[in-house]
Symmetry: C2
Subunit: 121 residues, 2 copies
DNA sequence: GGGTTATATAACCATATGGTTATGACGATG
DNA sequence: CATCGTCATAACCATATGGTTATATAACCC
């Protein structure tokens, strides 16, 4: 991933409307009007958000009949996950320190039960 | 994490200077002048970036002598990792489909060797 | 071909962002 | 106490962002 791709991808995720659009597309592909329906804003505003998401590599679009179906592109999300994951050692270290502190306070020597792997698998 | 926290955190990461600052702080705490040194911009510009990072919860600062040491805050990064990780099933699915396609093309029935766990552990 | 549905584009506006220079405030130190 | 090093704040500027309304384009249906 180039720096510019990271810029666009993180920038795209910094807007709650766009994150909600991704959540919607996680349920399945949808046309622009379907995507726009839940939001209290105009259709051109949604089209702009979709453009941002597409340029960020987070979605793709292709025509189907009259609609232009929007499709979640998970590869870019995996790349972002990998980027953030490159800092994993730091939060694992901080949890280890927290565990050590708790052990000191409680006077126990047993192995910690904290989950330091991210918990989503 | 509230929506606003996600807004700020992803927004903070959407700038290459701020990502570089995080990378610098991953090597250890540093004063503002030390952080600013490698960048071709003024000290007030760096101070603004540090404010953005602090408001995003990605760093913390505390005085030490004349300096205000900047410190990486990994908890927020873990939270972002968890948020992105909530889409993990989608990229794993797409890899599975890719594997299936490759198996079809190659005519092999053996188990895939692709790593679908994110690869950073 | 005319109407309808779906979507994009244009022009515009307010506010946010990322930078600048100049200056101010705080803390150590001779 | 005067000064120097570290950092923040103020005022300003250009461009980007997120929204609007009005209009144009594209594909289907009768």
């Amino acid at each position: 991933m180039t720096g510019n791709e990271l810029d666009r991808a993180f920038g795209a995720l910094s807007d709650p409307t766009r994150r909600a659009i991704l959540a919607r597309l996680a349920e399945g592909d949808a046309g622009v009007m379907d995507v726009a329906a839940p939001f209290p804003m105009s259709q051109p505003a949604i089209t702009k958000h979709l453009n941002v998401l597409e340029e960020a590599g987070l979605i793709s679009r292709h025509r189907q009949a009259r609609q232009r179906l929007c499709h979640l592109e998970p590869v870019r999300l995996k790349q972002l996950s990998d980027w953030v994951g490159s800092y994993r050692e730091f939060w694992e270290e901080s949890f280890e320190r927290l565990d050590e502190l708790l052990e000191e306070l409680q006077g126990t020597k047993e192995t910690s039960t904290r989950n330091t792997t991210g918990g989503t698998t």
